[in-house]
């Protein structure tokens, strides 16, 4: 398996609290991605990174921020969690060449009450 670790695996928190999810890779891949998975929507891109300190928005970025201070770590932050952000969050990594598949972490199930 590709060396991707997401933490935590599960989290329950309350509306209005800040939440940070971590993605750690040992593959030295340039690209890293955060997706959310919801029933009826498949996986949707939140934010992605194409290098240290280089990030950009995906299609569902409102309410989320990201940071990448090291190649191996990509953090997703919910500054003030809302119930609509209850979801399963996946991190993915990719090589430079676009014909290589992305590899996914095992996901984080986040519940916001």
């Amino acid at each position: 398996d590709a060396g991707i670790t997401q933490s935590p695996r599960h989290k329950v928190t309350e509306t209005g609290t800040p939440v940070t999810l971590r993605c750690h890779q040992t593959e030295n891949h340039r690209y890293m991605y955060w997706y959310r998975q919801d029933p009826g929507h498949g996986l949707r891109l939140i934010h992605y990174s194409y290098g240290v300190k280089d990030t950009d928005k995906g299609e569902v970025s409102d309410g989320y921020s990201v940071s990448r201070s090291k190649t191996e770590d990509f953090l997703l932050t919910l500054e003030s969690a809302t119930s609509s952000q209850t979801s399963v969050y996946f991190c993915a990594i990719g090589k430079d060449s676009s014909n290589q598949p992305q590899h996914f972490g095992d996901g984080t199930r986040l519940s916001i009450l």
Partner: protein, 119 residues
């Protein structure tokens, strides 16, 4: 913008039989990649098969094969000799082959097809 459509929310197949999952996509690009990912109850996202748009030959991986129809923008997945372990959610995904800098590798997913395998 590109879109991916999976019109079958659920499918069922008998063990040892063959099943085909449908996927259509919309794009104005001529060069791209298509993928099928499997998500079992464990929640892992596992790459099943991929297809480069410039290749006319359909990709195959053991019991899994695709029917890629570029003109029709169709990319179906055929699973032969279905096994109980094939039961999972299957996602079709698209990625551009053009160089948009950091956006090059992002995947666009369909909504998934939940496959049940009956013993």
């Amino acid at each position: 913008a590109q879109t991916v459509t999976q019109s079958q929310p659920e499918m069922s197949v008998q063990e040892a039989e063959t099943v085909t999952l449908s996927c259509t996509y919309d794009t104005s690009e001529s060069d791209y990649y298509l993928f099928w990912y499997k998500q079992p109850p464990s929640r892992q996202m596992i790459l099943v098969i991929r297809q480069e748009a410039y290749k006319q030959q359909n990709a195959t991986e053991n019991r899994f094969s695709v029917n890629f129809q570029k003109a029709a923008k169709s990319f179906s997945l055929k699973i032969s000799d279905s096994q109980l372990g094939d039961a999972a959610m299957y996602f079709c995904a698209y990625r551009s082959a053009l160089d948009y800098g950091g956006a090059t590798n992002k995947l666009i997913f369909g909504t998934g097809t939940l496959l049940a395998v009956q013993p």
